[in-house]
Each structure stands twice: as structure tokens, then as C-alpha cells.
């Protein structure tokens, strides 16, 4: 299986990433509202990259667990990092002018969600949507 990635540098690439994610998810059998949930989550984390890190990339990997297939989305950037992840994962917390829904919202939209961040080094978010 070919893994794919999209370089995130602008709001146009945010759109490209969510469209690519939807397309690849359909190929592994993810359907219906799950596609919309996935695309929305990708949009939120891709925008975070543009807003906080300036640039980064989003990779897509096909994954299998038992009899289920899924799409894993990994967002990486070398931006400033997140000082307090617990705080950043709370609804309504934002260091910019946003609504503070991006990270906690993306976690709710996906099935699996993991975030690793180091100050001055960057942030990596791994999140997966499984077929129903």
C-alpha cells in the first residue's frame, strides 16, 4: 500500500489535506458520516500547523487491527511546540484568536488520538479512523 503525504504550508493545503484524507479513507471502506468527521478533524489539525508552526506535513497510512482497516493521519511540524498539552486539550483554550476547539474537537471526531510535543522542537499528532 502506498502511503501518502501532503505538505502543509497554506490554507489551500489545509483544503487539499482534508480532501486527500477523505479520498484515502473511502478506499479503506470508511463511509458515511465517518468521512465527514475525519475530514473535519484533518482540517482542524492542518490549520493548527499553518497557524502555529507555519508549515509541516500530514501523512496518511493504511492500518489494520484485527479484522478492521483504518486510516491513520499523522500531522508533524517543527514549530514552537505546546507548553501544556493538558491545557491545549481543553475546550475553549486557545493561545490565538481561535475558538480553542481544534485539538479537543479533533480528538472527539476521531477514534484514536495521540499527541506528542516538545517545546522548540515541534508537535506530532497521530489519529486514526477505523471502518465501522
Amino acid at each position: 500500500m502506498n502511503d501518502k503525504y501532503i505538505t502543509i504550508i497554506s490554507d489551500a493545503s489545509v483544503m487539499a489535506a482534508r480532501q486527500k484524507g477523505r479520498e484515502l479513507a473511502m478506499a479503506v471502506g470508511i463511509a458515511g458520516s465517518d468521512l465527514t468527521l475525519l475530514a473535519t478533524a484533518i482540517s482542524e489539525i492542518a490549520r493548527n500547523i499553518v497557524q502555529y508552526a507555519g508549515q509541516g506535513q500530514i501523512e496518511f497510512h493504511y492500518v489494520i487491527r484485527g479484522s478492521k482497516r483504518g486510516l491513520m493521519v499523522i500531522a508533524r511540524d517543527n514549530g514552537p511546540g505546546i507548553a501544556d498539552i493538558r491545557q491545549a486539550m481543553q475546550d475553549g483554550f486557545s493561545t490565538s484568536r481561535g475558538m480553542g476547539l481544534g485539538l479537543p474537537g479533533a480528538r472527539r471526531l476521531m477514534d484514536d488520538f495521540d499527541i506528542v510535543s516538545e517545546i522548540g522542537k515541534g508537535t506530532t499528532i497521530s489519529m486514526t479512523k477505523w471502518e465501522y
Binding site: 489551500a12 477523505r22 458520516s33 490549520r47 475558538m99 476547539l101 481544534g102
Partner: protein, 126 residues
């Protein structure tokens, strides 16, 4: 993708034709606000039927447009939010508080007409 703004009587209709970037949304905001002023519009319908994603930026921008047009005396109705999109918005925690929403273009126009008549009556009774 640029969003065309059509004039229909006292109302404007902004009919989104495809996926929008943040830049597209920001220009929709500028264009709609200036079109309301130029046309002395009493109401605006924003048709989002084709949108397959409404993320936090899109929701925030639409809400801002709604607040701005109201300050200029025009009501705004967002129509055509798809069931899957509504589901994702709720999961994400997005609200369009204070913004009128309708099922489709037809109900959006009907809501604007009803709001307009109510305001007219209010004026006459005073």
C-alpha cells in the same frame, strides 16, 4: 473558489459552489458586507449545501458575517447544512449561536420575508 452573490429583490443569495479555503471565506465576508451596503439589502441567504466540511474557521466566519450584516440592518440565514456536516459540527463543539439557519434556499427566503414583515409591522405599530 469565488462565491457568486446574486440579487433577488431586497435579498442577496450567496450560493457556495465548491470547497472553500480560509481565504475564500474571508473574501466572502468582505464581498457580502459590501454587497449588503451597495444594494441596501434587507436579508442574505448563504447556501452551504455543497460544503462537505464545516470546520471551526468556516463556522466562525459565517457567524461573523451574520453579526456584521445584522449590525447593518440585514438578517442572514444559513441554509443547506447537510446531516453529516451537522453531526460533525456538534461533535467538534461548534455552535452557530444567534445565527438563523434553514433547511434549504426556499425556507431561507421564506424566513427572511417573515422577518422583514415582522419588522415592518413593528414600525407601523409604533
Amino acid at each position: 473558489m469565488k462565491v457568486p452573490i446574486l440579487k433577488q429583490g431586497d435579498f442577496l443569495i450567496a450560493s457556495i459552489q465548491g470547497a472553500l479555503t480560509d481565504t475564500d471565506l474571508t473574501s466572502l465576508q468582505e464581498n457580502l458586507v459590501s454587497a449588503v451596503r451597495k444594494n441596501r439589502s434587507k436579508g442574505v441567504v448563504v447556501d452551504v449545501t455543497v460544503l462537505d466540511v464545516m470546520d471551526s474557521f468556516a463556522a466562525r466566519t459565517l457567524r461573523s458575517i451574520s453579526l456584521m450584516t445584522r449590525l447593518m440592518g440585514a438578517n442572514l440565514v444559513i441554509v443547506g447544512i447537510q446531516p453529516d456536516v451537522a453531526f460533525a459540527m456538534v461533535q467538534l463543539g461548534l455552535k452557530l449561536e444567534g445565527t438563523m439557519t434553514g433547511l434549504d434556499l426556499e425556507s431561507g427566503i421564506a424566513m427572511l420575508k417573515a422577518a422583514d414583515q415582522k419588522q415592518e409591522r413593528g414600525h407601523n405599530e409604533r
